[in-house]
């Protein structure tokens, strides 16, 4: 579980996060949604330790980040898996080297054991046998899955994904969503996905937080979306005519998702 209390961050006098508090539970796909510029990325990067917040507290299963020493922080970092928007695969490494990198860096496992684990996670993400290829030789969707494989290779407790569907076709995007959901259940991770993709939200959003101008504007599950009268949520989710029609239909039928 990750708990965030009263997180604040400003850049050059402009406050980007204005006191956000949230609890992200274990074994759930938690989603942070919001328009561009709403503070999603700063929020995510603060939790990842890439940005130091001005105020507030982030705790990982009760371990408060700001109160930890370097060694304890390093331990938490090894429990984190991350998938960035652009995949962030190392260009000079082949797929096996990319996926095995955390294992080779932080463990003393023998090469055969590392190779077995790499093959296992590549199998899990549906990409067996591409070990010797380089990132530039595979498609964007495959690169995303390799990035996910690298993120889970160390059995993470916390899995972060920043815009995992960005730039992918709808079918591949749904595959990535399903994969994140399956892995969350398989590894029992606290998964946090940063997205503004409506399909993702409706597909795997077990716990959703809407950010608007640096504040938490709404919180709930995907089932609650169609029945909420929160103006910010409706403005964001039902901005397209298609989704407005879907909402009308759902409400006429009197059900949810």
């Amino acid at each position: 579980m990750i708990e965030v209390k009263n997180l604040r961050k400003a850049f050059g006098g402009q406050e980007v996060l204005k006191g956000i508090s949230a609890v992200f539970e274990k074994g759930k796909t938690n989603m942070i949604i919001g328009q561009s510029g709403s503070g999603k990325t700063v929020f995510l990067k603060s939790m990842l330790g890439l940005i130091t917040p001005d105020q507030g507290e982030i705790s990982f299963d009760g371990r408060v980040w700001s109160a930890l020493d370097d060694k304890q922080r390093a331990q938490i970092r090894r429990e984190i898996g991350v998938v960035f928007q652009g995949n962030a695969l190392f260009d000079s490494y082949n797929i096996e080297e990319n996926v095995s990198f955390p294992l080779r860096m932080f463990t003393d496992k023998p090469p055969a054991e590392i190779r077995d684990r790499v093959n296992e996670v590549l199998e899990q993400v549906g990409l067996p046998g591409i070990n010797r290829k380089f990132p530039s030789e595979i498609s964007g969707g495959q690169q995303k899955r390799v990035a996910i494989a690298r993120a889970i290779v160390m059995y993470p407790k916390y899995l972060f994904a920043d815009e995992p569907n960005s730039g992918l076709d709808p079918k591949t995007a749904i595959r990535i969503d399903d994969l994140l959901y399956e892995l969350t259940k398989h590894y029992d991770t606290t998964t946090i996905v940063n997205t503004h993709d409506m399909n993702s939200i409706m597909e795997i959003g077990e716990h959703i937080i809407l950010l608007k101008n640096g504040i938490k504007a709404w919180e709930g599950a995907k089932e609650d979306i169609f029945h909420s009268d929160n103006a910010d949520l409706n403005d964001f989710i039902f901005s397209s005519e298609l989704f407005r029609k879907v909402k009308d239909m759902v409400q006429k039928l009197g059900g949810g998702l």
Binding site: R77, L89, M105, F106
Partner: protein, 250 residues
């Protein structure tokens, strides 16, 4: 005033980055792998270019010295002597380093800069890898260990180029040229040259790494960082060349 403050800020950031880079590698095997990779990328791949340039520089120095040495009282062996001194003291260590600043500096700044803008460095940081140490230290180790050999090789090539030019143009005989090469050999000049090479190798690895590491933005910024890296590395090489010469030879 603003520019002066900016310069001091950059210098401070540069030394802070170096402090981060000079840590014990987190994993020796991966450090070794990276070191070997860097030896190939920023060492072996530059050999051909450096030797080619030094061959012709040696030739040009020989021809120019021969053409300007019209006094019949002066010994023709001075042509070989001038070529040797120019190549060992200046052309091989300094000019080669300025050329390496262009070739290797832009390569280092653009690769690290691209890693920054594509979030590869963020991934390393999130994993708990000391990204500065992981990316920069193998480059420093590779340049410091390889460039002295490269420069020694380039000295031989420069002197050989001078002899070849003398033969082709018939401006100096082999005997005179060899006599000049052996004349008044001062071992300290070689030490001075190696000291310069090591300092320049350090600058070539660290200044472009610094500009690449702190890139923000996109491809345009990476390009600008590469240009800045080459300019500042060249400026620093020229400045340190003067400082070392003043300290060691005057």
């Amino acid at each position: 005033m603003k520019h002066i403050l900016g310069f001091f800020e950059l210098t401070g950031k540069y030394f802070l980055l170096l402090r981060k880079a000079f840590a014990r590698p987190q994993n020796r095997r991966i450090f070794w792998e990276n070191y070997v990779r860097e030896l190939d990328d920023i060492g072996l791949k530059t050999v051909g270019m450096i030797l080619f340039i030094n061959f012709f520089i040696g030739g040009v120095v020989t021809i120019q010295t021969a053409l300007n040495l019209e006094n019949p009282l002066l010994d023709r062996s001075l042509i070989g002597f001038a070529a040797k001194q120019s190549v060992i003291l200046e052309f091989s260590p300094t000019l080669s380093s300025v050329i390496l600043a262009g070739i290797v500096g832009s390569y280092i700044a653009s690769t690290i800069g691209t890693m920054r803008i594509t979030e590869q460095i963020d991934v390393l940081d999130v994993m708990g890898v000391n990204s500065a140490n992981h990316l920069i230290l193998p480059k420093i180790a590779a340049t410091l260990s390889f460039y002295p050999f490269l420069i020694i090789l380039s000295m031989f090539m420069g002197i050989f180029g001078g002899w070849a030019a003398g033969q082709v143009t018939d401006l100096v005989s082999t005997a005179d040229y060899l006599e000049g090469i052996r004349m008044d050999f001062e071992p300290f000049h070689f030490v001075y040259s190696m000291v310069k090479t090591l300092v320049f190798a350090f600058l070539i690895a660290t200044i472009p790494s610094f500009f690449g590491y702190y890139v923000r933005g996109g491809a345009l910024e990476v390009g600008r960082a590469s240009t800045k890296a080459v300019i500042w590395t060249s400026i620093m090489i020229v400045l340190w060349n003067y400082i070392i010469t003043q300290l060691l030879l005057s």
